[in-house]
């Protein structure tokens, strides 16, 4: 009797359902943002999914502007946006602005954060900041082969528990782990997996009060902003680009369309 490969019957084994759409993405159901530190393999994963050939190279800063591509998975069309690699979303540089503005204003359905498993601690700084902006995050622990080569091990399950989001070990260069990545993108996009991301613990009661007060105001003015707490924090810190976004009306533009529509129809 033919032995049934248990992998093939498992719902995770999904690559067969993937259609690479390249740049054809006229209609899409979900938007996926691809973020992470420089040189962690974002473009490699982007290429794996879209079938495009964004140039990849082992040096930081290779992707200078965002690249877009599409794929179809289990009947839904996804647009995936490859963002420039950044170490943080706090200080200001062009790359960080591109990445942050997209995660904040572009409101992606899923943000796929690619991290270098061998440098988890430093990479987590960015992950924690992204989770402050958006809940729908999937973490890809890339370069697992490097991790083994360097005699290290990561407890993937407890990492996922600690962060409150799905964590997928992967070796993008060998195309390993891509099927699971796709499954979690789908789960989070369609709401089958509810992320409960760990938020940065409060620093002091005084700051908490200030943040809460400001958050309430922002929520009233921009009810559709999914991350008013984060905006409040940035405002308190005096982040000039956020101040500009509010005073120039950029922030309002982001949320207004749906907003007006829902108010008029009342």
């Amino acid at each position: 009797m033919k032995e049934i490969n248990s992998c093939e019957t498992c719902p995770v084994h999904n690559l067969a359902n993937l259609t690479k759409l390249g740049v054809n993405m006229d209609k899409f159901d979900f938007v996926v943002a691809l973020a992470g530190n420089p040189n962690t393999g974002k473009s490699t994963i982007f290429n794996n999914m879209t079938g495009l050939h964004q140039h990849t190279g082992n040096w930081p800063g290779k992707t200078v502007s965002r690249a877009e591509g599409g794929f179809k998975f289990n009947g839904s069309n996804y647009k995936i946006v490859d963002l420039p690699g950044t170490y943080s979303l706090l200080s200001t540089s062009t790359d960080e602005d591109v990445a942050r503005n997209f995660i904040l204003f572009g409101k992606p359905d899923v943000t796929l954060v690619v991290v270098d498993a061998t440098r988890l601690e430093r990479n987590l700084n960015l992950v924690l900041q992204i989770m402050e902006i958006t809940d729908r995050v999937v973490l890809v622990l890339n370069l697992m082969d490097e991790l083994k080569r360097n005699n290290m091990e990561i407890d993937v399950r407890s990492l996922s528990r600690e962060l409150g989001i799905p964590v997928v070990p992967a070796e993008a260069r060998q195309k390993k782990g891509m099927d699971e990545v796709l499954k979690y993108i789908e789960d989070v996009a369609k709401g089958n997996y509810l992320c409960k991301p760990r938020k940065i613990k409060s620093i002091s009661p005084k700051i908490d009060t200030a943040v809460n007060e400001l958050t309430k105001d922002i929520e009233e003015s921009f009810p559709n902003l999914p991350n008013s707490r984060w905006v409040a924090l940035r405002l308190l810190e005096g982040d000039q680009s956020i101040i500009d976004a509010i005073s120039s009306g950029e922030m309002a533009e982001l949320v207004n369309e749906q907003d007006i529509r829902s108010t008029i129809s009342e």
Binding site: W59, S93, N151, L159, D217, A252, N256
Partner: protein, 488 residues
């Protein structure tokens, strides 16, 4: 809800928004005083703390084995103060040597096939069906031969060079180069990341100019854009390699020819880096004054290169892409060459008049009229310089018995045949050296010029980036030629 008109509603809506946003900003200002200035630091602090906590709970390092031993040992050697640069030059030289040696045989095979077999076959067919001579000339002797030429000259070296370069990139060597070069660039008043854009320029200057976006400071980014042309691009590598093989390789005994040629090409590439530093320094001390800004560069882990994958992507990404671009430009250029060589005015072809006109100037700077005309025709793409030079040389010297006649890009069985033509055209070692210098120092191709304009949005800086290297090339070649003629 009261019924109000849509316009009225929108007006109210926006008015409210305006009020709200001012209120919010005001409130933020007030609250900022309360929470104090240390907020930014304390937020960062708590992020770091959490990251470190999570890491402690989830990452296990095997006892008594250190992580990254291999990487740090390798880094100590590759970025060492003493060995960093010599190793860099050795690696570069090895890459060129492999390229030069490896491209020879396939180059001959391709040119035999495309020009020795296909071209006569096409001519025969065209004669049999009686196609008028000028259409036959334009299409088969112009367009087809120009394209075939570009493939024969460019494909083999690119097919060897790009995969090798991509393997180095994949392995993680480029950031180490950047690290080594950083001190030099900083002293030149430029950004350390310029080493990366420079490395990109070795592939394609237009790509290098776009890559300068990684530099945040506008001043340093401009410097990186203007000096990118000093990185030899892939359109110029074949010129360097061919001319070095003919004029430098032949100066030494045959067994050493490969090494001498590779050394000469590396020499030109290094000269390009030196010019890049000098011009950066000059710009940052004059029109683009300022301090070099600090940045952090992560040295990524070394990764075992994926050989097959690299071969595939470097062929698709770079080789075929560049080749296609070259053919797109070579095809119409082939037509132009055929026309200037075959349209006669008063008994002489147009090309003759132009070459006669440009010859005195060309000779003055160690080149000749043919090279000058070739560089004008080749503004769209550096790749077609050598094919154009050879065709025009045959025409100007009236060599007969080679190829199909005037205005025809002929077949060349080997580097030796090319050498014969160039020597017959009056070329000397001086011409070869000056051509190598001029190939390094002249205006960027039109694609790069357009890219510079798109990136800088400034006619002034585009003009500077275009004419500065050209002026430098003319001046340098002039001095080399004059001194050469005085001494020899």
């Amino acid at each position: 809800m009261n019924k109000i008109s849509g316009q009225q509603f929108l007006n109210n809506f926006w008015k409210e928004r305006m009020k709200n946003k001012e209120e919010i900003l005001e409130k933020a200002n007030e609250l900022r005083w309360e929470v104090g200035e240390s907020l930014h630091d304390s937020i960062l602090g708590s992020i770091y703390k959490e990251a470190s906590e999570i890491t402690k709970n989830t990452v296990k390092t095997e006892d008594n084995k250190d992580a990254y031993t291999f990487d740090s040992k390798l880094d100590k050697v590759l970025t060492s103060k003493l060995l960093g640069f010599p190793i860099m030059f050795l690696i570069l030289a090895a890459v060129f040597w492999i390229t030069i040696e490896g491209a020879n045989v396939p180059s001959k095979m391709i040119s035999d096939f495309l020009m020795g077999t296909i071209h006569p076959w096409l001519k025969e067919i065209s004669q049999r069906i009686g196609i008028p001579f000028f259409i036959d000339g334009l299409l088969i002797d112009g367009v087809y031969l120009a394209s075939a030429w570009v493939i024969a000259v460019m494909l083999p070296p690119m097919a060897v060079f790009f995969p090798l370069f991509t393997l180095l990139e994949d392995f993680g060597y480029l950031p180490r180069v950047s690290f080594n070069m950083d001190g030099l660039f900083r002293r030149a008043g430029a950004h350390g990341k310029q080493a990366l854009t420079m490395a990109m320029g070795f592939g394609c200057n237009a790509a290098g100019v776009v890559a300068a976006r990684v530099i945040d400071s506008p001043r340093e980014r401009l410097i990186a854009i203007i000096t990118n042309n000093f990185s030899l691009c892939n359109g110029r590598w074949p010129t360097q390699i061919l001319i070095a093989t003919i004029f430098i390789g032949s100066l030494v005994p045959a067994p050493l020819a490969g090494f001498a040629t590779a050394a000469a090409v590396v020499g030109i590439a290094v000269l390009g880096i030196v010019f890049s530093l000098i011009v950066s320094w000059g710009l940052s001390k004059s029109v683009l004054k300022g301090e070099a800004s600090a940045f952090s560069l992560e040295l990524p882990p070394y990764r075992p290169p994926r050989i097959l994958r690299t071969l595939y992507t470097s062929l698709i990404d770079r080789t075929i892409f560049v080749l296609w671009r070259a053919i797109v430009f070579a095809a119409p250029a082939g037509m132009v060459i055929w026309l200037v060589a075959n349209v006669h005015v008063g008994g002489l072809s147009i090309a003759h008049y132009i070459i006669q006109f440009t010859d005195p100037f060309g000779l003055m700077i160690g080149l000749n009229g043919v090279i000058i005309l070739a560089y004008i025709i080749a503004i769209p793409a550096n790749e077609i310089v050598i094919p154009t030079v050879l065709m025009l040389t045959v025409l100007a010297t009236g060599l007969s018995g080679i190829g199909g006649g005037s205005g025809v890009m002929f077949e060349l069985d080997s580097v030796n045949a090319t050498a014969d033509i160039l020597h017959a055209g009056g070329w000397t070692a001086l011409t070869g050296i000056c051509l190598m210098i001029f190939s390094l120092l002249h205006n960027p191709c039109s694609t790069t010029i357009f890219t510079i304009y798109k990136e800088t949005k400034s006619v002034k800086w585009t003009a500077i980036a275009t004419f500065l290297p050209l002026a430098m090339g003319i001046v340098l070649c002039f001095f080399i030629a004059q001194i050469w003629m005085l001494v020899l």
